[in-house]
């Protein structure tokens, strides 16, 4: 039973890769899967902070790569879940402190002990990106509905295509009100432009900032508005067909599905 190895990437920085990795990972763990999250953003470690695990770090990714500790010693178990752990990035090293093959080997090893390995990719398309993609078998591209984020996402999609990785898209920080008034690209537009299969739509919501402040995954908060959003993404990853929340007021998703099936 090979684990799924999914890199979460975007090209442009700050569009929500880390937030997505943390919350989708937590949602998968809550659904009973064994999940390992790998922070590939060497030098700009954040995943631990978003999940509230920053105080428990002992070893990091680079130390595992250098053979200074075992993977299992470096993994931090999230006590709130049965089966979620993270491998933190090194904070005081450079992106080139690790090679692609070292990275791939770590992902490989993590995959032996998990059902899902999610890799939080750094921004950009250079060494850090190549590392993060090295051990992945599929990709989630995160974008916001903005021109620069989409252009960068397109660039990344091209690179992932070159590697023959299947790609799914998350449109993050959607503002349905702005879409309605014609001031923001719709999810449909974004999917059409990128021609990538959609796997999630996450609205722009201060809840994200609030839960990130506290270091709590959204799926743990039963009152959270976005809880179902991440749970649905997790289910779609499992292969379920889950209808998309309609933020549009029209039959957006029916049409979207139609378009994707047809195209």
């Amino acid at each position: 039973m090979a684990a799924r190895r999914i890199v979460i990437t975007s090209g442009k920085g700050g569009v929500g890769k880390t937030t997505t990795t943390a919350n989708v990972g937590a949602a998968l763990a809550k659904r009973g899967h064994r999940v390992i999250l790998i922070d590939a953003d060497i030098g700009l470690r954040n995943l631990d902070l978003v999940l509230g695990l920053e105080k428990r770090i002992v070893f990091d990714l680079v130390e595992v790569a250098e053979g200074r500790c075992q993977l299992r010693q470096a993994l931090i178990k999230d006590k709130r879940f049965e089966s979620l752990s993270i491998l933190p990035a090194a904070q005081t090293r450079d992106k080139d402190a690790i090679t692609e093959s070292q990275f791939a080997a770590i992902v490989e090893q993590a995959a032996e002990a998990a059902d899902y390995v999610l890799i939080d990719c750094p921004a950009g398309i250079e060494a850090g990106f190549r590392n993060a993609v090295a051990g992945a078998k599929e990709a989630i591209v995160v974008t916001t509905p903005e021109v620069s984020a989409i252009r960068d996402a397109d660039r990344v999609v091209g690179k992932l295509n070159d590697k023959h990785l299947p790609i799914r898209l998350i449109v993050n920080r959607l503002r349905p009100d702005m879409v309605r008034s014609g001031d923001m690209l719709s999810v449909e537009d974004v999917c059409e432009i990128l021609s990538v299969e959609l796997i999630g739509i996450v609205p722009d919501d201060e809840e994200i900032i609030d839960t990130t402040n506290k270091g709590e995954p959204i799926v743990l908060d039963d009152t959270a508005r976005l809880r179902m959003i991440y749970d649905k993404i997790a289910r779609r990853l499992e292969g379920d067909v889950v209808p998309f929340t309609n933020f549009d007021g029209q039959s957006l998703l029916g049409r979207l599905f139609g378009a994707l099936k047809a195209g």
Partner: protein
């Protein structure tokens, strides 16, 4: 309310502008990332044109320009010689009329002097930029209409 007013005055919503701009910029990006496609397109283009007129292959230039709502391909193909139009034996297919290209230049070596005939200008708009391009698939490097 403001939106309503905007619509009243027929203002294009900024999301449409964004979409249009993205479409163009991505086409340009994709072309820039696929020099081998441009090369082979250039070759094919010249092959076709040289069936009708003699062309200076060395001096062929292909450029892309962004126009208002489309991407235009501008090919500059210097014609060095044009055969005499009367060719009675071959069925006069539409092609055999080498357009009223200036007076048949004193065949050959007319290159430099000649106001280079701008051979092709085609416009690419329409479908969104296709993906799965920029593959270096051995041989066939045409921008397939994926999907």
């Amino acid at each position: 309310m403001i939106e309503w007013v905007k619509k009243m005055f027929g203002q294009t919503p900024s999301s449409s502008t964004a979409k249009e701009r993205l479409r163009l910029v991505l086409m340009t990006d994709h072309l820039a990332l696929a020099p081998e496609i441009i090369e082979s397109m250039k070759r094919d283009l010249v092959d076709v044109i040289s069936r009708y007129v003699e062309v200076d292959r060395e001096k062929v230039e292909v450029n892309f320009e962004r126009e208002d709502k489309a991407l235009a391909m501008l090919a500059n193909i210097p014609i060095t010689a044009v055969a005499r139009p009367n060719k009675p034996e071959e069925e006069p297919k539409a092609k055999a009329e080498p357009a009223p290209a200036a007076e048949p230049e004193p065949v050959a070596e007319a290159v430099a002097a000649e106001p280079q005939a701008k051979a092709t200008t085609s416009t690419m708009s329409g479908p969104p930029p296709t993906r799965r391009r920029r593959k270096k698939k051995a041989g066939g490097s045409k921008p397939a209409p994926a999907h």
